[in-house]
Amino acid sequence: MEHIKKLKVINDLGIHARSSARIVELAGRYNSKLYFKKDGHEEVDGNSILSILTLACPKGTEIDARAVGEDSKDLLDELSRLFQLKFGEEK
């Protein structure tokens, strides 16, 4: 099973160390594999904090999240919530 979802970075700091860590932590709780793709870049491993960081996503960036596996839909739903909650950043 494969699902794709468009996600938008809306937190002030963009995807920095702390938010990347939250993503990897979340992805680790699911069996599905997670990938991110940003325009003009190669797809990267969503379970790798370094890959996510190197994608360089400031506030306003749109990325495609692709999950492969039986719980891929749940993973993307949770992930989308995490983006919407601005990774729990204060304010």
Binding site: D12, I49, A56, K59, T61
Partner: protein
Amino acid sequence: MTDNQRAENIKLQGIAVSPGIIIGKARLVDRSKQKIVYQYLIDEKDLNREVERFRNALLVTKQQIAAVKNNMPEQLKQHAFILDTHLMILDDSMVSEATTKTIVEEKINAEWALKKSVQKINKIFSEIEDEYLRDRSNDVENVAERILRNLAGKEQDSLSVINERVIIVAHNLSPADTSELNTSKIMGFITDIGGRTSHTAIMAQALEIPAVVGLESATNVISDGCLLIVDGYKGEVIINPDVNIISAFQEKQTYYDKYKSSILRLNYLPSETTDGHRVTLKANVEFFEEIAAAKDHGAEGIGLYRTEYLYLRSKEIPDEDELYKDYKQVAEIILPETVTIRTLDLGGDKILTHYQTAKEMNPALGLRAIRFCLKEPDIFKSQLRAILRASAHGNVRILFPMISGFQEFLDVKKILGEVMNDLESRKVEYDRDIKIGIMIEIPSAVTIADILAKHVDFFSIGTNDLIQYALAIDRVNEHVAFMYEPYHPAVIRMIKQTVDAARDAGIEVSLCGEMAGDPMCASILLGIGIDELSMNSGSIPLIKKIIRSISRKEAMNDLNHIMELTTAREIKKFIEKNLERFIPELKDKNTLKPPGNNSLSIGN
């Protein structure tokens, strides 16, 4: 390097990341100076064992970092995520899997394979534009270094065992290392590498210990046990200082301590001359977070609220509601005082990333500030609506930058009128009597200040740009930067002409450039009759102290004399001599001038 034991006063320049001055003994810590890693081939049959050796090292490293995290001192707990990040880097496929793969495929030892992985990661990171993200490769280095040590089977000499009053000198300190420092004993630390946004720097600030990073060769030139002075304000380290230098720094140290406590004593006193003339001292503010410090330093309001940040930090133009929320928040927290919000002053060096304008030959003379806003009325109107809506929640004034002529101001007012009508028709609340002011920072505006003064509620003189435009000096250009001269008679005359025009029209005039926070300029500006000075909040206590020690009458007499002087040098000499009369401790201006934007900064 025993030679250095005798060589005195060697000065190293690094990056100041955590303020304070310390004088103490160096303790060299053998930390992650790139050890030479050798490459050797592994026999086919031993490959599994080599992979196993690498995995073990990963496991041990993981346990060590987890242990440090569990023992983190209380004030660092909020930064615990940094160590979580390091744990994830250990598990990252670009580190663990990539290295294992390299060991097997290239039949090489784990150390060399790991080094290859790290180099690959570094290369990817080095291409990132964002400084913060680029600095994260430092985190990878920290983790890799620990793995290498564990591969070598070396005992990690934990920094927690250092129990003397020493200054730690290291090639690099990882956040984990920093977390282990016994801060009741350790005075501070200095390192060869690292940047302003490194995680180690953040930890040093949280621990409130002075730190200087990026010294490049500290571990090469400093020997264990030698005497060091670390100036966490300037980023300076002095090796084997002589008696004179030590006592100079001791004085500086005492001065800072006294200065810190004097802030608290002074901040509730009015900024009033000995003959009862009041000058309002306000703060220049860019971030909401700065407002608390501004109040602590005795600011009576925000004289300049810069609004560029929200436009710069994201790829999109911020929407009206986001701006409104920000301005409202500021207006509410500064109550009952006033906040003067300056409309977008972008252009020149800080063009919107997503608004790709043609490369300009002379950005300072190009499409910037109010010119940009008039060309993009939608962006402008959205900001004006946000400011007006915020004005319903506090005392807000609007300030338009870069006005060069009366027609331009009429164009601005027309747009403002349209926005007000729109709000009116939608019954949106705003302050109908909102005060409207303009920046006086272009020589043409000075020349017609008498015309402009009749149509605005206040002037705000922006000396940084005014000096640049009046003297035709690009401050960023190292060949002419030295000619940038606030004491130039032309500059002083222009300020006076502006203030006189404001006086005649009966409007208020403030000054918000660096001159406002320069102790040398205080008496001139007082003599000219500026109503309000707005500066970095760190400068307020000293300026207040100067104002409280002179009289308006003396300042006016001095100004009469200054107006007759013909060169900047003469003027400067006169002020210097004058100032010593009132405040003897100002004599050595250098001891009074800590650098940077930290909360202790006095001059600019």
